[in-house]
Amino acid sequence: MAADGDSSDEQLALAWAGGDQAAFLRLYARHKGRLYAFLLRSLGRRDAADDCFQDTWARAIAAHRRWRPQARFSTWLLQIAHNLVVDRFRRQRPMVSIDDGDGPAPPPVLVDGQPGSDPAAAHEALEQGRRLRAAIAALPLEQRTALLLRLDAELSLEEIAEVTGAGRETVKSRLRYAMDKLREAMG
C-alpha cells in the first residue's frame, strides 16, 4: 500500500504496518516536533526528553505492525510517550527542574522583530518566560500532562482521557485546576 503526500496519519500508519518505510518517514516528520515539545515541556530537561523521545519511537516501531485505525495515530503515539513520562517520574522523583542549568535554552528575545532592541523589554520577556516554565513545572504531573496535551497537541478532552487513561470529567477538572494555577502564577 503506497501512501502519497496528502495521506492521513492513519493511512500512513497502515502503509507503514504493511512495510512502507517511506510512510514511516512522513509520519516521523509530521509528529517529531510536537512529540518532542510535549516531552521537553513535561520533563523539563533535554536529556530526559531525548531519552523518552527515542524510547517512544522505539516502542512505536516495535508495535507498529499491530496498530489498528481504532484510534488516531497521534493519540497512540502520545499515549506511549505519556506512559514513559509517568514511568520516569515514578523512578526518579523529583524530575522537573528548570533552574538547574540543564533545562531548555532561554527563549529568544524578540521586540518589534529585532532581537534585543530594548534591554528592559528583553529582560521582561525573559522573566515572563521563566515564570511560565516555573509555573508549568510546579503543576502536578497529571495537570501538567493534561495542560500540555491540550495546549500543545490540541487534543480534545476525550483524546486526553484516552492518552492518560483518566475519565473525561477528571481530565476537565485537571485542566481547570491547571489553568487557574497558571493564571495566578502569571499574574
Binding site: Q21, F24, L25, Y28, K32, G33, Y36, A37, L40, R41, D50, F53, Q54, W57, A58, I61, P104, P107, P108, A125, Q128, G129, L132, R133, I136, R150, L151, D152, E154, L155, S156, L157, E158, E159, K172, L175, R176, M179, L182
Partner: protein, 212 residues
C-alpha cells in the same frame, strides 16, 4: 472551556504564549538519525546477513582447514636436527618416502640428505592433481636452490600442511574479503616463516592497513 479539538480563546492565547516564551527547536539531528536507524534495523540486519554469507562460508571453510592442519601437525612427529642428522648419514629407503625419493635433486648437501624435509615441499612432479590445485590457487612452484651454493641457502617452499590454508587465504581474497585474507596470510607467515605467498596475497600484505 471547549471540549472539542479547537482551543478556546484563553487556551489559544496561552498556547501562543507558551510557544513564544518557551520555544522548542525539536529533536537534534543525532536523535533523528538514532530513531531512523532504529526504524530500519530489521531490514538492515537481513541485508547485512545476506552480504556476510560468502564471508561466513569462507571463514567456516578456513576454520575447518585450520583444525585439520593442527591435528595433522599434532599427530606427525616434528623433525628435529638430530633426526635430520641421522637421516643424512643413512639415506632413506625409497619405499618410505617415495615422493621425496623420486624428487630430482640439483645438488648434494642437506637437501639431498633430508628426505622428510624434502617431503614437506610440494612434490609438483609426482602429484599432478595437487599441483593443479595449487596452480588454480595461484601458488607457484618453489624455486630450486641455485646449484652454485650447494643447496645451503634453501628456499622455504609451501609445505603440504600449509597448502590448504594457503588455498583458503586465496579463496578469501577472491571473495573480496581482504581483511580476512590478510589475516590468514599473516598466520601462514607466522607458522611457516619465509613461505612463498602468491603475488596477490603479497600485494595485499604490502598495502597499508586500513585506519578504523
Amino acid at each position: 472551556m471547549s471540549a472539542g479539538p479547537g482551543l478556546g480563546r484563553e487556551e489559544a492565547a496561552l498556547a501562543a504564549r507558551l510557544r513564544r516564551q518557551w520555544p522548542v527547536s525539536g529533536p537534534s539531528e543525532a536523535l533523528d538519525q538514532a530513531v531512523l536507524a532504529r526504524a530500519g534495523t530489521a531490514r538492515g540486519a537481513r541485508r547485512r546477513t545476506r552480504a556476510r554469507l560468502p564471508w561466513l562460508l569462507a571463514s567456516a571453510a578456513a576454520a575447518v582447514l585450520a583444525v585439520g592442519t593442527v591435528l595433522r601437525l599434532a599427530v606427525a612427529p616434528a623433525p628435529t636436527d638430530d633426526i635430520l642428522a641421522t637421516e643424512a648419514a643413512a639415506p632413506a629407503a625409497p619405499a618410505a618416502t617415495p615422493a621425496a625419493a623420486r624428487q630430482p635433486v640439483a645438488s648434494g648437501g642437506a637437501e639431498t640428505a633430508a628426505p622428510e624435509r624434502s617431503a614437506l615441499r610440494a612434490p609438483a612432479a609426482t602429484q599432478p592433481v595437487q599441483a593443479a590445485e595449487r596452480q588454480a590457487a595461484g601458488v607457484t612452484a618453489p624455486p630450486s636452490p641455485p646449484a652454485d651454493d650447494g643447496g645451503a641457502r634453501q628456499a622455504v617452499a609451501v609445505p603440504a600442511a600449509a597448502e590448504a590454508e594457503l588455498a583458503a587465504a586465496v579463496a578469501l581474497l577472491e571473495a573480496g574479503q581482504d581483511a580476512a585474507a590478510a589475516a590468514a596470510a599473516r598466520t601462514l607467515l607466522r607458522r611457516w616463516p619465509g613461505i612463498e605467498l602468491p603475488e596477490p596475497l603479497q600485494a595485499l600484505l604490502a598495502e597499508p592497513a586500513p585506519v578504523e
